[in-house]
Amino acid sequence: MALTRITSPHAHAKQSTSQVMLWVALATLPGVAAMTLAFGWGTITNIVLAIAFGTALEALAMALRKRPPGFYLKDYSALVTALLLGIALPPYSAWWIILLGMFFAIIIAKQLYGGMGYNPFNPAMVGYVVLLISFPVEMTRWAAPLPLLGEVQAPGLLQSFGIAIGGSTFPIVDGFTMATPLDLVRQNSALMISDLKEEYAQFGSWGGTGWEWANGGFLIGGLLLLYKRIYTWHAPLGMLFSLALLSAIFYDGGSSASAGSPLLHLFSGATMLGAWFIVTDPVSSAVSNRGRLLFGLGAGALVFIIRKWGNYPDAVAFAVLLMNFIAPLLDHYTQPRTYGHT
């Protein structure tokens, strides 16, 4: 028997940070599956390469920082970052794009700030934004939804890896990439929404072909995490609410100046991924529930503002990074009322 000084409490819930991370990873599966169904194997190649690079970079950083890599890899935070970046990147991205993104995510945004828990910005979104600004062409060429491909044959799994490792993005025939619904809404200010829908098949039933499925998948995963109490409802619902509210206010029934219906905004682009997997990142968001609600509301509002008036068709990454900036401010003003204080 060893009588040692151990601080209370002696009991501990059977839950670990690694488990939390694994749950988050698990919850992305419905969305990933939907994306694969919608856009082909490109998402899978993205994710596989991102995880490989992410793990290697994390281990390298830990070795350079003279810490036990095994201990830190076991927290699976690099896995989640890689997973999220892999999902966010356009399918069939080239390996060097993914490597560069993971380098900025893991090394610059996370390890240089002190590793997991110390990063003020969401690593995956930092990686994404760096790529978006540096390689706008590669980053905005999105694969066409499989149902719309028609004659064109989508690459198989091995072929997809070949594309990614070959280092060229979308070398295949024309028509394999297509503008996303959000692009179309942005670029065609002369057409009514209904005209757009008629003209472009990408619009699908409400959020865009393929996009509706992917967003639905991430919604399911997010609800699972909510049910598992991995996070509270404040940040995700805050974001969805403000996005829906703003898009409803500015939706005038589908005129040419309109930015699209609330449904289009909620189920297109990276909305659900952002709401359930990005703004819920606890490290870089606000700490209190009220703070997280404001964080979500702000992110949702920024998403809409950038989508409607900004220069980019989608805006989740920018919105989240901008909110990361003011998270400490939110913390300062949203400290909860302590027991016995007025």
Binding site: L3, R5, S8, P9, H10, A13, V20, G117, G340
Partner: protein, 647 residues
């Protein structure tokens, strides 16, 4: 009028699995209860120790009674080593108001008053009275109160104080002090804490199950003392089997008469959740009020007492039994027979463990108190004290050692669990960086150290330890600041005083001079020679004053503080310049001091001074110091010769 005891189940609706049929509907009343923020539901593990009835632990060969088993000043022994003592005899008196006396739990002989290991998280020793028991268990003479209802407040309080009763729920606040409220009827609500929300602990549960009558007696005495408007007995809904017994026991007393106003007595049950048994939490659950930060429940007209304390009060008043024993739960998978024992205070923990079939090999730590707030014992010889409600001997599988902490990811689970609505993750960051002001701004003082945050933390961070260390740091800083402020005042006062004295001296001198001048003027006509002498004298005097002034301006040589400072400065400079020379100088100064001391001694011998002995001692010490200095001088030389060899 008959007392109408209103029995309540609340909320009898959805939350608690209560069968309302068990109680007569005519006396049922719905009482609103409130929820507290946060809280956790750890596995209860209470059934193991509830299988048997309370057993007597018996009299061990030796009892060890620490003098501070409570919050406040330690008690002062009033027995000597070798004294024969009787059971219940007071062996240490209370020191001041916030303190309680200690009584002998059994008859025997005081064999030691010395430092022994005591149950304390530090594992340090503290002063204890050690009694070898004689096994006869002979009582001192006892004078129980016949009819407590006829006693006035001060008498009852006196009995409670003299019986050495301190809160038995865990903190150990002197009960007599807590109950001593200024005015009658100041207290509206008396809350009795039968929550026992910590896992494993069942001592209060056993008490309620088997000694409901005594509890009711204690509550009746408290009612007489505080005259409350309502008495609320809070019980978690995992202990519903005791409710009926408590209610029928309470019916034996006329609380309206005791409190001299309409008094509602209720047994209130509420959903099980840790830490609803914290005083502040229980008050919020039962009354919906929050005790303002930094103030006491009494400021809200509420007094909260543990049920064990109520039984101790009943024993003290009605049977003249001071606090010499308590119910302690012995449990955990490393004991064969978990149970509740009635233990004499001072009984060593190892004695109790033996009785319950302790398997030391499987045990990974020994905890006094529960798994949430208890502390690990470093020695099995420590005694049971007034606050020891549980001894937990878990196996490694049961309460595994904490794994290495992972980084905090601010998941916020801790903030969800915190019953004080704090932000534990933020406090953790600030504690790590020792940002004391930020910690205060985030109300670390309101942390009750319940451990709910650490329990849920997925990164296994020992959060509570961070908060304890940070709180200690804040206390220390406050104390230092206070002391610095005080020292500054005293320093300034001294400077002022020295200045004033100097001015007075100057003034006196001037007055003398003026007088002398006047005198010489008077006599000057008579004797020019004398006038010349006087003038010379005045010049000399003036010069002296001038010189002194210059000196004062220079370095204030005449102030001993300045002198000491100058000396130290010179010494420090020398030391920094050359350590070897500094050591040499130390030897020299020791020599000089020795010589000085020797001359002083010689002088003293010549004068036959009364301080002869003191000077002799000084010479002796001087020699020792010189020897030490010389040794120190010699040593580094050896070292410096050694070092190259080892390198």
């Amino acid at each position: 009028m008959l007392t109408k005891i209103l029995q309540t189940l609340s909320p009898a609706t959805a939350i608690s699995p209560v069968q309302p049929e068990r109680y007569s509907p005519s006396i049922m009343r719905m009482r609103k209860i409130w929820d507290i923020h946060g809280g956790i539901h750890p596995p209860e593990n209470k059934t193991q120790s509830l299988g048997e009835r309370i057993r007597q632990a018996g009299i061990p060969a030796q009892l060890i009674l620490p003098l501070s088993q409570h919050i406040g000043a330690a008690a002062v022994p009033i027995v000597k080593v070798g004294d024969q003592i009787l059971k219940g005899q007071c062996i240490a008196r209370a020191e001041g108001l916030v303190s309680v006396p200690v009584h002998a739990p059994s008859s025997g002989c005081v064999v030691a008053i010395e430092n022994r290991p005591i149950p304390h998280p530090s594992g340090l020793d503290d002063l204890c009275i050690v009694i070898d028991t004689d096994g006869h268990d002979r009582w001192r003479e006892r004078n129980p109160v016949e009819n407590f209802a006829s006693c006035d407040k001060q008498t009852l309080l006196g009995i409670i104080r003299d019986a050495g009763i301190a809160g038995m729920g865990g903190a150990g606040f002197p009960t007599g002090f807590k109950l001593n409220v200024r005015d009658a009827r100041e207290i509206d609500t008396l809350v009795l804490n039968g929550t026992e929300c910590e896992p494993y602990i069942t001592s209060d549960h056993a008490l309620m199950r088997e000694r409901a009558e005594e509890i009711a007696e204690g509550i009746a005495i408290l009612a007489q003392l505080l005259q409350p408007r309502e008495i609320l007995l809070g019980v978690e809904d995992n202990k519903l089997d005791v409710v009926a017994g408590l209610q029928s026991a309470l019916q034996a007393h006329d609380f309206n008469a005791l409190s001299q106003r309409d008094c509602i007595v209720e047994v209130v049950t509420f959903p099980t959740k840790y830490p609803s048994g914290g005083e502040k939490q229980l008050i919020e659950i039962l009354t919906g009020k929050q005790v303002p930060s930094g103030r006491l429940p009494a400021d809200l007209g509420i007094v909260c007492q543990n049920l064990g304390t109520a039984v101790a009060i009943a024993d003290a008043v009605l049977r003249d039994i001071p606090l010499i024993s308590r119910i302690t739960t012995i449990t955990g998978e490393a004991v064969d027979r978990p149970c509740n024992l009635e233990v004499l205070l001072g009984t060593p923990v190892e004695y109790l463990l033996q009785q319950c079939g302790f398997r030391a090999g499987e045990n990974n730590r020994l905890v006094m108190g529960g798994p949430m707030m208890g502390f690990a014992l470093l020695d099995t010889r420590v005694p049971v004290i007034k606050t020891s409600n549980c001894i937990l001997a878990p196996t490694e599988a049961e309460l595994p050692k904490p794994p290495a902490a992972q980084p905090c990811i601010r998941c916020g689970f801790c903030a969800e669990a915190c019953p004080a609505s704090l932000l534990p993750q933020q406090l953790y960051w600030f504690a790590q960086g020792k940002e004391l002001e930020k910690l205060e701004q985030h109300n670390i003082a309101d942390c009750i150290e319940c451990g709910a945050c650490s329990y849920v933390c997925p990164s296994n961070i020992p959060l509570v330890q961070y908060y304890r260390a940070a709180k200690a740091e804040i206390r220390e800083r406050d104390r230092d600041m206070q002391q610095a402020e005080y020292a500054k005042q005293r320093f300034d006062a001294r400077q002022e005083r020295l200045q004033r004295l100097e001015q007075e001296k100057q003034a006196a001198r001037k007055a003398r001079q003026a007088k002398a001048a006047a005198r010489s003027k008077q006599s000057g006509d008579a004797d020019p020679k004398a006038a010349a002498v006087a003038a010379a004298l005045a010049r000399v005097e003036a010069k002296k004053v001038e010189a002194k002034k210059a000196q004062a301006a220079n370095s204030a040589e005449d102030d001993p503080v300045q002198r000491a400072l100058l000396k130290r400065k010179a010494q420090q400079q020398a030391e920094a310049a050359d350590p070897q020379a500094a050591l040499q100088q130390k030897v020299d100064s020791a020599k000089a001091r020795l010589e000085k001391a020797e001359t002083r001694l010689a002088d003293a011998q010549a004068e036959n001074s009364e301080h002869l002995a003191a000077f002799e001692a000084a010479v002796q010490k001087g020699r020792e110091k010189l020897a030490a200095a010389e040794q120190a001088l010699a040593q580094p030389k050896e070292k410096s010769t050694d070092q190259p060899a080892s390198n």
